[in-house]
């Protein structure tokens, strides 16, 4: 890029990126024209406002509201401060909270241990250019196009106790969505069904980018297929692996639509996100209490986000 003659010839109209790179050659940003400065200011300000307005403000407001008992009605001046009471209530006396945490963890574990590896496995298979791989690829990717809410409906046809396909085929009368011991697994199958296709596509894209000479070299050295994958391909795909990991974590934290469609996140399908919605959005309007739940969820998300960012930044420094 930097040796493109156009940029060399006219520094006054060079892009900010090019200028920054030239900074290393001793030219300062004071060479920027007025237009450049306006453009840069806009490019910084607009996203900044968006991020502050749409991300930071709601996040801080949630944390602030979690210390109140606001019921969503009336002016903000009437909000009463209750300190940490919402948090102690959530943990001590709110029965759905513990199942919700367990279900979120179960969700993460199921996606991480079963769905994600299976998706990666399918990607490796499809990468072998087997016959009809395009067809399989499309078939497996199809569920990803559907929203999770829609997937809830699709699977309802399969899981319905009285009219469902599954009970008709098995001759059972299991209440797949209603039985609190069963429904979380039934829902996880539906969620995994979609997740597998997503991971497969991500990983397939990564695999296509692996330099074939690496595999050839491994083959020449006499490595088996499995050894080649685990010792050569997998380490090379580290950036993709991290993305897959992050996607898995995000998917399990934001899991919501599916359980909401099934039974509003009650009776065995409690998830933190569903509890937040029940408390904040419904007729209940326990804004303060719901915000405390949301804050707890934010804290958990922050842990994962921090780990991810730390890894990515270390990667960039190298």
């Amino acid at each position: 890029m930097s040796d493109l003659p156009l940029i060399q010839a006219d520094p006054a109209v060079s892009s900010p990126a090019a200028t920054a790179r030239k900074g290393g050659r001793g030219r300062g940003p004071r060479l920027l024209s007025r237009t450049d400065r306006v453009v840069i200011a806009l490019m910084v300000l607009v996203p900044l406002l968006l991020v502050v307005g749409l991300v930071w403000f709601p996040a801080v407001a949630t944390v602030a509201l979690s210390g109140t008992n606001w019921d969503g009605i009336g002016p903000i001046s009437e909000i009463e401060w209750v300190g940490g009471r919402n948090y102690s209530d959530v943990i001590n006396i709110y029965p759905p909270f513990v199942p919700a945490v367990q279900n979120n963890l179960l969700w993460l574990a199921a996606l991480f241990v079963v769905a994600t590896p299976f998706g990666m496995f399918l990607a490796v298979l499809l990468d072998k250019e087997i016959r009809g791989s395009r067809f399989y690829q499309t078939a497996l990717y199809l569920p990803v196009v559907l929203s999770l809410a829609l997937i809830g409906f699709v699977w309802q046809l399969i899981y319905s106790r009285d009219q469902g396909l599954l009970n008709a085929a098995l001759g059972t009368s299991t209440d797949w969505y209603g039985d609190p011991d069963v429904n979380i697994w039934a829902v996880l199958v539906a969620a995994g069904w979609r997740h597998v296709g997503y991971i497969m596509l991500l990983y397939l894209a990564g695999l296509k980018g692996v330099d074939p000479s690496l595999r050839e070299a491994a083959a020449v050295d006499g490595a088996s297929e499995a050894t080649t994958f685990f010792k050569v391909v997998f380490p090379v795909l580290r950036p993709i692996n991290i993305i897959v990991l992050v996607v898995t974590v995000i998917e399990s934290l934001r899991a919501f639509d599916l359980v909401w469609v099934v039974n509003k996140g009650r009776n065995g399908l409690e998830l933190i996100s569903a509890l937040v919605t029940q408390n904040v959005v419904g007729e209940a309007s326990r804004i303060g209490f719901g915000s405390a739940l949301a804050t707890l969820m934010l804290v958990v998300s922050l842990v994962f986000i921090t780990v991810y960012l730390a890894t990515v930044m270390r990667e960039n420094r190298k």
Binding site: I73, D179, G282
Partner: protein, 443 residues
């Protein structure tokens, strides 16, 4: 243009544009409102905007939660009656019943329709006290045919009226006469007789009591009636108001009794809606069903005569079996309707005999609140239901209408579902309810 959402809207479109100039614009406003609804997830009011050209507004909007086909049809007919009587058009904005209820806070604080459907009881007084409802005391001055009980049920904490009752329905044990005659079942008068009857039904291959609690609220009816039978009306009201302890022996006895009855209830109830449970009664697979009179909506017209009910039997002779749940449905006015005159006109019409007569003619699953209405069109079932409520000593509204909505939906729904799932740990459950109650009932 969007598809018509209600029959009235569809009918209104048949009017030539030259006649319905204003109407078209309000429809467009409605379409814009729908867009806002999709965009924000709020129940944005999608009725008529006040006309910018200064002409006298001839429209009024109604937010309706009557989303089931039959009641929806009745609303459309009542509104058509109002249109004929007053010349003011009504834009009906129907929202799914449960969704309407769950979004009510946002709905009322946003731009609600001029008039909206709501319930009497704590839930009405709550919004009135929060200033989210319009005072309709002057409309009440023009209404006639309401008993004091109804007026009291329409009055807020400040002594003003905020509600116009339209209909009510008792909760009772429904059954099909043909099934009971065929098997020779007798109406139980006591809890023991109910248990014996249930055992006999089981022997005969029926689910004794149909049951569905997927949506969380139908089982509250069972709790209510047991509490009313075991502890009486006053205790029930105090318990709902947060004044009594849930850990008391009285409440424990309610759950103990319920646990004894649970084996008679249809299994796997947490995955079943009330409609499905009602269909099991309709298909003669269940023997009886504790539900509101609206259970009739799941029966075809020629099956209505086969439907009968009895009030839940006596448990404690000292308490008797005279109290019951009979929730009142009706209408409230927005705090700032776009056209207050039209909104009040509509409220007055909704409380009139004429509106009640239209309802009587078209909906056999409800009872009208106005005693001046011509009830000769009542079915035998309706007459019996009206008698039952008339002879009741006390009338409760329903658990989720008699207490704080946050307590009902975030504490009681999970708690009752937990009880149905695992009826053994009653004292643990009650301790948990009591702890949460203390945290919610703070003011």
């Amino acid at each position: 243009m969007s598809r018509p959402r209600t029959q009235a809207e569809y009918l209104a479109r048949l009017v030539p544009p030259s006649v319905a100039g204003l109407r078209r614009r309000s429809l467009l406003a409605g379409a814009a409102g729908t867009g806002a609804l999709l965009g924000t997830g709020l129940l944005a009011g999608c009725g008529s905007d006040s006309e910018s050209d200064g002409a006298e507004s001839k429209t009024v909007s109604l937010g309706s939660n009557q989303s089931d086909p039959k009641p929806k049809d009745v609303i459309a007919k009542v509104m058509a009656g109002f249109q004929t009587a007053s010349g003011v058009e009504v834009a009906i904005n129907t929202v799914d019943h449960n969704t309407f209820q769950e979004n009510i806070n946002n709905y009322l604080q946003g731009k609600p329709d001029d008039v909206y459907t709501w319930f009497a009881g704590y839930r009405m007084r709550f919004f009135a006290a929060k200033g989210l409802a319009g005072d309709v005391s002057d409309v009440w001055g023009k209404l006639s045919g309401y008993s004091d009980a109804f007026k009291k049920a329409s009055t807020g904490d400040d002594g003003k009226q905020y509600f116009v009752p339209a209909s009510y329905y008792p909760w009772a044990m429904f059954y099909r006469k043909s099934v009971w005659q065929q098997r020779g079942y007798q109406v139980p008068k006591t809890l023991d007789e109910l248990n014996a009857l249930g055992a006999q039904m089981k022997k005969d291959g029926l689910n004794p009591i149909a049951f569905g609690d997927k949506d969380g609220w139908p089982a509250m009816g069972t709790f209510d009636i047991l509490n009313l039978r075991i502890n009486g009306y006053q205790f029930h009201v105090d318990l709902m108001a947060g004044k009594e302890a849930w850990t008391s022996d009285k409440v424990k006895k309610v759950f103990d009794t319920w646990a004894g009855l649970l084996p008679l209830h249809q299994a796997d109830s947490l995955g079943r809606t009330w409609q499905e449970a009602a269909q099991s009664l309709q298909q003669k697979k269940s023997g009886m069903y504790l539900l509101g009179l609206f259970v009739g909506q799941q029966f075809s017209n020629d099956e209505q005569d086969d439907l009968d009910f009895f009030t839940f039997p006596e448990i404690d002779p000292a308490i008797g079996a005279k109290a019951l749940d009979a929730p009142i449905d009706g209408y409230m006015m927005a705090r700032k309707p776009k056209s207050e005159a039209n909104a009040k006109k509509l409220m007055e019409y909704l409380g009139s005999k004429d509106a009640a007569n239209v309802t009587v003619k078209n909906d056999p699953s409800t009872l009208v609140a106005n005693s001046g209405a011509d009830v000769s069109g009542y079915t035998a079932l309706q007459k019996k239901a009206a008698e039952l409520v008339g002879s009741a000593t006390e009338i409760a509204q329903f658990l989720d209408r008699d207490t704080r909505p946050d307590f009902a939906s975030t504490v009681m729904i999970p708690a009752i579902q937990q009880f149905i799932k695992d009826p053994k740990d009653i004292s643990g459950l009650l301790t948990s309810i009591e702890n949460q109650k203390k945290s919610i009932f703070t003011d």
